[in-house]
């Protein structure tokens, strides 16, 4: 087996042979990413209505369904989405992670609600919860960033925020607020740099997902088909605090 030293040694040997290379530079990282992100957030909050409009247009273009609701109306909206799809079972992120507890309203609408715990689960409990998510009809998550330019939802996995909530159920509903809106992919780069800045980054979850519309394929005669492995439907609810 090749060792790390031998492998990198071969690379260095070849690099030493190169001649007459063009000067080239990588992208410039922000020097203090967290401060840069704070400044960006303050700038973005001024322009959020335009960002939201752009997000809505792009999100709908990739096949997403956009909603806008006041915080108090969100549980009823979720219940309506469930009713329209005959959903029996709903899996949600932990209520504290979502910022909204829709449990009682959904339960009174006759839906089984499974909120994912923040506590460290035991191995058998993990297996059981995986089955619950795999058999749920709707998955409800929060959102860390909503990218206006591309209509993309970005979410980090963590305790109480299982990654497959947005993957296994055939319908995914994501809740977001104005603070999540960014305009461009370059701005997402600043957020990613900030999230990975310092030791705290290591305690976060292991996955960051960018989701741009429902799962799709065009592998058979280029016919666009939705919901091949992931959700067939993706809803984004803008929670309006005004």
């Amino acid at each position: 087996m090749t060792t790390r030293a031998a492998f990198l040694g071969r690379i260095r040997d070849e690099m030493a042979k190169t001649r007459g290379l063009f000067p080239a530079t990588t992208a410039e990282r922000p020097a203090r990413p967290r401060e840069r992100l704070e400044v960006l957030r303050r700038e973005l909050i001024e322009r959020w209505p335009q960002s939201l409009e752009r997000f809505r247009a792009e999100f709908e273009r990739v096949g997403g369904v956009f909603h806008r609701a006041r915080p108090g109306d969100v549980p009823a909206l979720l219940a309506r989405i469930c009713r329209e799809r005959d959903a029996r079972s709903v899996v949600t992120w932990d209520a504290a992670e979502l910022g909204i507890d829709a449990g009682p309203v959904l339960a009174s609408a006759g839906v089984d609600v499974h909120a994912m715990p923040r506590a460290v689960p035991s191995a058998p409990e993990r297996q059981r919860l995986r089955e619950v998510i795999a058999h749920a009809d709707v998955g409800v998550t929060g959102v860390d960033l909503a990218i206006a330019e591309t209509g993309t939802l970005v979410m980090r996995s963590a305790a109480g925020r299982p990654r497959s909530t947005s993957l296994l159920p055939p319908c995914h509903v994501a809740l977001f607020e104005r603070g999540a809106l960014v305009e461009t992919l370059a701005q997402v780069g600043i957020a990613l740099e900030a999230w990975h800045d310092g030791a705290a980054a290591d305690t976060e979850g292991a996955v960051i997902n960018f989701i741009t519309g429902p799962s799709r394929t065009a592998d058979i005669e280029l016919t666009l088909t939705r919901g091949v492995h992931g959700p067939k439907e993706v809803h984004a609810i803008f929670v309006d605090h005004d």
């Binding site: 070849e14 530079t25 990739v62 990613l192």
Partner: protein, 472 residues
């Protein structure tokens, strides 16, 4: 060298492809559609050209410090609890993965689409070791059922009709299946969902890996990449060393151009950033994460003629615009990677000898370089390869003699000038409608598949001389 020996010559493979009417139609529809979608995507993205330049620059800058970026990547993956392995050859890569499979007692491996694992012929090795490999990208699943290889980097089954797919599914499931893409997709979803939940091992490639953070990045549209990296208890990612990018800021530049070039989407549906195994407080994710760094001919090109091919993002844009690919499709190339970039990658993996014929399967029109998101100068490297092929005497001898003679002739101006009138005389019996369509003897090999332009009635030199006489 792990590629199977190709027994039929390229000419015959191409001939066969040209005779396949369905293939022709499918290729034409698919490539035309991809070209249009790509043009549209860049059309409404004013920053596109600048970002392509940036992406190219970042690739070159990364190569210039490749050792440092890889060191950082390795350290960060390990810091997050992942394991990194080093594979100099395809054989070594397969052994590493089989070893992981054996140690973890894996019986079934679900795979998300990956050219790197195609390149090392992993599926055959897994099956031989008693681990059932299941391709989960719909296109890859179809060609796995058909025991074929991908014919396009991003649309592996474009050569299949829905009828053929329905037959494959019917054979597999032993029941009637309607030839409707919607129905076929639903069946694949149900079949593969069980496999995702059952498999022990998830195997992926990597579109990028971020050195600063130890992050492996997967881009998919179907969501199978997410399944494969979330549900099985072990995840193995295989990546060529050139896929490393320094920072998250760099990554965003590549994400801005990748999907637009591949399918005309602003972003693919899923971009998944994976940083090691499941954290203790998390509900899901693999218990083990392995990253296999693959050389397999790449490292030798850091200072080689094919250096620029190490920029490649595997988007497939050069295939769609290539007049040769559009006529013969991916299988006729005969190796894992088809199309213009595929010729370069084949030479990288298997040596220049392997592309003796393939290096000529290009008109050098330059459409590939125009379409490439990182502006790889593919035609220049194809010419270099042709030169290498000639230098090592791989071209047929009559061709070599004719070109040697021509090379000598153009260095003798008086003789060369005689060539004009002499050529006009000799070609007289063969010119039909301003073209030379057939030549006698072994010269006929040249004109069998193309016309030879005749010597002009007045050559450039003759006209130039006349002009000088008119205007002293």
């Amino acid at each position: 060298m792990s590629e199977p020996l190709i027994t039929t010559p390229l000419r015959e493979r191409a001939q066969q492809a040209l005779g396949d009417r369905f293939l022709h139609e499918a290729l034409d529809i698919a490539t035309t559609k991809f070209i249009g979608l790509r043009r549209e995507a860049f059309g409404e993205f004013p920053d596109g050209e600048r970002l392509r330049d940036r992406a190219r620059d970042i690739k070159e800058a990364t190569l210039q410090r490749l050792d440092e970026h890889l060191e950082r990547l390795i350290d960060n993956v390990e810091r997050r609890g992942g394991h990194v392995h080093f594979a100099a050859t395809a054989d070594e890569a397969r052994d590493i993965i089989l070893d992981i499979a054996r140690r973890t007692g894996a019986r079934m491996a679900v795979k998300s689409k990956s050219m790197a694992t195609e390149e090392i012929h992993l599926n055959e090795a897994l099956a031989a070791a008693g681990v059932m490999p299941v391709e989960t990208d719909l296109g890859e699943y179809i060609i796995q059922l058909a025991h074929e290889r991908p014919s396009h980097i991003i649309a592996p089954a474009i050569h299949k009709t829905k009828g053929q797919v329905a037959e494959l599914f019917a054979r597999e499931l032993k029941r009637e299946v309607a030839a409707d893409p919607e129905v076929l997709t639903r069946i694949a979803r149900a079949e593969l969902r069980e496999k995702f939940l059952e498999a022990d091992l998830g195997i992926t490639g990597a579109n990028f890996a971020v050195a600063d953070t130890g992050t492996v990045v997967l881009v998919t549209n179907e969501g199978n990449g997410r399944m494969v990296t979330s549900l099985p208890r072990v995840h193995v990612a295989v990546m060529g060393v050139e896929k490393v990018v320094p920072s998250m800021t760099d990554l965003m530049v590549f994400l801005s151009v990748l999907a637009k070039s591949a399918t005309g989407q602003k972003l693919s549906v899923y971009t998944t950033l994976i940083q090691g195994p499941r954290r203790p407080q998390e509900l899901e994710g693999p218990d083990e994460f392995h990253l296999v760094l693959l050389d397999n001919g790449r490292i030798a090109q850091i200072a080689g003629t094919l250096r620029e091919a190490l920029y490649c993002l595997r988007c497939g844009a050069c295939l769609n615009v290539c007049p040769v690919y559009r006529q013969i499709g991916g299988h006729a190339y005969g190796y894992t990677y088809p199309g213009p970039i595929g010729i370069l990658l084949t030479a990288m993996l298997n040596g220049p000898r392997s592309v003796k014929e393939l290096s000529h399967a290009s008109s050098l029109c330059g459409a590939c370089a125009d379409a490439c998101p990182v502006r790889i100068d593919i035609p220049r490297m194809l010419i270099e390869l042709r030169k290498e092929v000639d230098e090592t005497k791989l071209a047929p001898w009559p061709e070599r003699v004719v070109f040697k003679a021509f090379a000598w002739l153009i260095r003798q101006p008086p003789l060369y000038r005689l060539g004009g009138p002499l050529g006009r005389l000799l070609q007289r019996p063969f010119v039909r409608a301003g073209r030379i369509g057939t030549l006698p003897l072994f010269f006929g090999h040249w004109t069998r598949t193309r016309d030879l332009p005749p010597v002009a009635a007045r050559t450039f030199q003759e006209r130039w001389a006349a002009l000088e006489r008119e205007q002293p």
